[in-house]
Amino acid sequence: MKYASIKKENLNKWLEYLKKKARLYAPRKKENLFVFRPVKDVSEVCLKYVPTILPPKKYYFPQKEKLLKFSIEPFKTAKAISEFEDFILFGVHTCDIAGIQCMDVVFRDGPEDPNYLNRKDKMTIIGIECLEYCDRFANCVSMANHVPRGGYDLMLVDIGEKFIIHINSEKGERLVKGLSYIKEVGETEMSALERVREAKKKVFKEEFSAPLNKVNQAFSQGFASKVWEDVGRRCVACGNCTAVCPTCYCFDVLDDVDLSLNEGLRYRIWNSCQMDDFAKVAGGEDFRKERANRQRHRYYRKFKYPVDKFNRYFCTGCGRCSRSCMAQINLIETVNSLAAEVKESQK
């Protein structure tokens, strides 16, 4: 069974079932935005949503994560987390799944990061394919993440009265097997899936003015571009863009001593290359002092450096950085201006 289907009226029944299997996280509404939350009431799960404020990254790369237990006297260290719990991420957009694939690449690259890998082993991903644009900020088509490209266990596609479920792993198969309300698919459902994908082509258009390889070339040549000065002038260095990014993983390490003043925990906490002192050293030199340099660094960490290192773009097209920017710095506009400037300079 590679594809299965479930009637929409049975979805909540399935969610109840999943909730019993493992800790279940899914998107739900929060005021006029959306968030991933542990599912308490399955009726709150919302599958039509604009990308959540934070990507599900908070579950596999927590904002504040225990690295180590220590005692000062006598000198002792111990694992901070003895057991990681199974969890299911439900209703993940394809852009966020791409984000998880990026994190995999980073944390599996030696030296491996056991904290991330332990969590990742316990994670099951159930995605949902977007059939329409979330809003004008997304650039998922240019990043080719508007369609499923692997990295999930199950993928739901809305074909009207039913969801088609693409089964992509044994882990996923175990969550649909033996349930009376999840059926094998027939010809009608498969042709409905094709129709849905065909209709999508009319809705989704490339957001960048140039194909990705040209964008990458623009980055190769655009290090000294005026675009960065412009972006830097507007940036307020709040770090929103990196906090909400599904592929930003920079961190700081922090010790917390308990009231005994002898025992404590070492954490890693999210940090941002947009912060003032991020690249400062003891000698006083700050290697990315200007906001323009810091913003440029962020963009290059999406469109250039990881491509050189891993052959993978670290922009997923989710649009969160633009959506959450207090200074209205827009990723699509920035990339397009850079591409245009580089093209102009080559004439």
Partner: protein, 290 residues
């Protein structure tokens, strides 16, 4: 040996887990820099390369990357020299013989001593730059016959800032190396050179094709010393530097030490000038050079 395997296994369960180490000797070198001799639990060797660094852990204060200043040929212990600049280093300065700290590492790429075999060496140290270079200099002293002529140039602000006073005096006396020291500002007792370290280079006699130039110091020093060495026609890949960045993990993840696409903790801290040239603008050490 078995002890080491156990400790390595311990580190493998989490690369973030430091191992226990004890300070066996500590003394102030200047009024800002303190020297530590450290032994790892079980008396095992750190097995580092000259130029590598360790992450020093003081629980409750955090971790900081510190250059190793002893040579791997100094067995059974390793040495660090630390300037008091922040919370962690201030606490470290208050530690002495018998006190315990945590160590992770060694990390990074050190000096390519195997490639330097048989070459003449010009080593230029500015201020604290002598700390990582001391690991190389001691290595060279120990394997003196493996290298050609060795010239050491040292620059610091005032005679009071001179590190490893006794040791440098000994270097000065040894016939098989040339040692030159200069200070920016002299005091009445100073009998040596006065002026910037760059002023020592034109006088250096060298055969560029068979010479390695090694430079470690503050960013501003690189710009001038590197251009002097380039003027001498030393090939790019024979000019070595070690770059200071504030790593938080040492594992190529946390992002703090990144210069453009390069993680200094993994690909450095030692780079050659050919690599330095590839940086577009975030490497201040090569700013305004060709």
């Amino acid at each position: 040996m078995i002890e080491r395997e156990i400790l390595l296994e311990k580190m493998k369960t989490s690369p973030y887990r430091p191992i226990k180490a004890r300070i066996v000797e500590a003394r102030m070198l200047t009024d800002k820099e303190k020297f530590f001799r450290i032994e790892l639990e079980g008396g095992i060797d750190l097995r580092h390369q000259p130029g590598q660094f360790v992450m020093v852990s003081l629980f409750g204060y955090g971790e900081a990357p510190i250059s190793i200043c002893s040579s791997p040929t100094d067995k059974g212990y390793f040495e660090l020299t630390v300037r008091n600049v922040g919370t962690l280093t201030d606490k470290l300065h208050r530690l002495g013989e018998g006190d315990v700290l945590g160590i992770r590492g060694p990390f990074g790429r050190g000096f390519p001593v195997d490639n330097m075999f048989g070459f003449d060496l010009v080593i230029a140290a500015g201020g604290l730059g002598l700390v990582p270079l001391r690991s190389l200099i001691r290595y060279i002293m120990y394997n003196r016959n493996d290298f050609g002529n060795v010239q050491i140039l040292l620059g610091c602000k005032t005679p009071k800032d001179l590190l490893f006073g006794q040791e440098t005096k000994e270097w000065m006396r040894r016939a098989e190396i040339k040692f030159n020291c200069t200070v920016d500002r002299a005091d009445p007792d100073w009998k040596g050179n006065v002026g910037l370290i760059t002023s020592l280079i034109p006088g250096v006699d060298l055969n560029p094709t068979r010479t390695y130039g090694v430079v470690v110091g503050p960013p501003v020093m690189y710009r001038f010393v590197l251009s002097e060495l380039l003027k001498k026609n030393i090939p790019d890949h024979q000019i070595l530097v070690s770059l200071e960045r504030r790593m938080r993990c040492g594992l190529g993840k946390c992002g703090h030490c990144q210069i453009e696409g390069v993680y200094v903790c993994q690909c450095g801290p030692v780079f050659d000038y050919a690599q330095l040239k590839n940086f577009k603008g975030e490497c201040h050490e090569k700013a305004a050079l060709p």
